[in-house]
């Protein structure tokens, strides 16, 4: 079992040392931010170090267009904190984003010129409005088009010998913990991963806890996203406090409470893409987007899956699902997960299906034998 080892040093002191190390070893440094609490702290610490050394660093934000107004305000706050040492990489370029709320508009094409009148807000001439790379644009999957991760990939490829700072913390999830400790990326540094062209990602806040982040924000009187205050007022649990995207399959539930939190954003979103009103009403419905309860017209998840597959309205996406499901077990457990993918239009397989024998039936067999 992996053990945590505690040292006589607090996480802030350690983080500052990590920043010093990165600044000593890299000429180019780019900090990725999202508008959330972690990346606000990540950027603030980097900017302090940059100011101390009178060096410029890049602050990178990929603008998905359909985001909270508060996210934009928070990003603007971070970008304007120390403009003298900030290279502004606020990208407002067209790319595709999954829209789980509608089959018709299954992809939102952010900042698409054709839809200019419907944009959530105007683009800002201070920001980057065209691709930053000169190489031929790389696209991982032509069928899906130029997507969210492709922008990151191509943006990264336009740099070399660069440190990309990411606000990943290992106490958020085991996956994140594994990402951090798996292999050293740069020299013997475990809190880093190797990227192409001698670029490296660094996670200087990897050992910070939830409370460490808030303590830093409070002590340095930093502004933070108002969504956290909203969560506080709603009495939400600690693990539910996340500032996320509004439409992709893992985060579209944010739409459910959007009218309450930012009514203006909700109104604009209604005009911008299909399916928002329906998602707002049913995002937390156990029979609809949650796919937890079987609709009463069906007596098994297998039958529900067959129905969804048969009536799936987008042929090219339907083909992806048929191909994927072909080698799966045919039981209720797997079929429910397949239904979830179909309902959420998860052709990208972001909710992977655990292809196993139905655990419920396995347990029934066990009880049947011993009782």
């Amino acid at each position: 079992m992996v053990k945590k080892i505690y040292r006589n040093k607090n996480v802030l002191e350690s983080a500052i040392e990590r920043y010093e190390y990165i600044f000593d070893n890299f000429e180019n440094i780019i900090v990725s931010i999202s508008g959330g609490k972690d990346s606000t702290v990540l950027a603030h610490l980097a900017l302090m170090e940059a100011k101390k050394r009178n060096r410029k660093i890049g602050i990178f934000f990929l603008d998905e267009e359909v985001v909270y107004k508060n996210t934009i305000e928070q990003v603007e706050y971070v970008m304007s904190m120390y403009p003298e040492v900030t290279n502004r990489f606020w990208l407002q370029i067209p790319f595709n984003l999954t829209n789980s709320t509608s089959y018709k508009d299954s992809q939102l094409k952010c900042w698409e010129q054709k839809q200019k009148k419907k944009w959530m807000r105007k683009r800002d001439s201070k920001n980057v409005l065209h691709k930053t790379w000169s190489h031929e644009t790389k696209i991982a999957d032509r069928k899906k088009g130029f997507g969210f991760y492709d922008v990151f990939k191509n943006f990264e490829m336009s740099f070399d010998n660069t440190a990309f700072l990411v606000g990943l913390r290992s106490d958020e999830s085991l996956n994140r913990y594994r990402t951090v400790i798996k292999h050293p990326g740069y020299k013997d540094i475990l809190w880093s991963t190797k990227r192409g062209q001698n670029n490296h990602s660094f996670y200087p806040l990897y050992d910070w806890s939830f409370s460490d982040i808030w303590k830093y924000i409070s002590e340095n009187k930093l502004k933070y996203h108002k969504y956290y205050d909203f969560c506080f007022m709603k009495g939400k649990f600690l693990n539910q406090m996340r500032v996320s995207s509004l439409t992709h399959e893992k985060a579209f539930q944010s739409i459910q409470e959007l009218p309450e939190f930012e009514f203006d954003t909700y109104q604009k979103l209604l005009n911008r893409i299909e399916g928002i009103s329906f998602a707002q009403e049913t995002a937390k419905d156990s029979k609809m987007f949650q796919v937890k309860k079987l609709p009463k017209n069906f007596d098994s998840w297998m039958k529900y899956r067959d129905f969804l597959l048969e009536t799936f309205p987008v042929p090219e996406k339907k083909y992806i699902f048929i191909k994927r499901f072909k080698n799966h077990f045919n039981n209720n457990y797997v079929a429910r997960l397949q239904c979830k993918q179909l309902v959420l239009n998860d052709y990208e397989n972001n909710f992977p299906i655990k292809n196993i024998e139905d655990p419920v039936q396995e347990k029934v067999k066990y009880w049947s034998k011993i009782l």
Binding site: F232, W367, S368, L371
Partner: protein
Amino acid sequence: MSANRGFVYIGDHKKLDIINKYIQENDIEKCYVFGDHLKLQCEQYKFSDTDMYKYYYKLLQEIDGASLIIINELMRTQNRYDLKYNCVRKYCLNTKHVLVFSYFPIRKAKEDVMILYDFIQDNPFHKEAYSDAVFNNFVLGDCVLDINKKDVEFGPDVLEKYETEKQKAIKAVNKKPDIIPMRLLKFSQKHKINFDPMDKIKPNMNIMVSNLKVDQYYYSELLNFKKELENGKEDIQKQKRS
């Protein structure tokens, strides 16, 4: 080994007397109870509320060195890494005064006691192994589980009905297959009433075990629990001395 910050009381104790004495002897200014309700004039939080955001920061701000935290019968899962336990553990770190009460120190296995053990340790992240634990601050009271078993035998008509009930229970499974033994136990209890009224689960149990498989299953579970309980108590005694 981490340092201790309070006491864990296992078994039967006069909780209110212990608490009041502790308050007087340690200049306690405020008390907080987590878990089952106690007849005390102080803030009390149910197990389900312990990780709520609206309480979490409030409690972290309020609880200080002059506060007493009382954790009352909070053994709800076997998961030592449960978020709710970690939140309570975090509250405990704000004071050196923690009293933990739990009649049984286990839920199923003797290692479960480490959940109680963690509450009085200084390091919020380090989870010591059961084999390394030193139970010096544990106070063992009466914690017995006497089982008075009475064997009863059902005739072939009941056994036949049992089979039918089993098939019905299997058919009725939707998401939770564990309803099968529970439903069959209910069936068994219904028929055992003809022999003698049953006593509910409590430290001194009078139980009837029939020739139905479900009874045998639950009886073996009960024996396992008793065995684990005895082993756990023995380990606590042993580790106290060393």
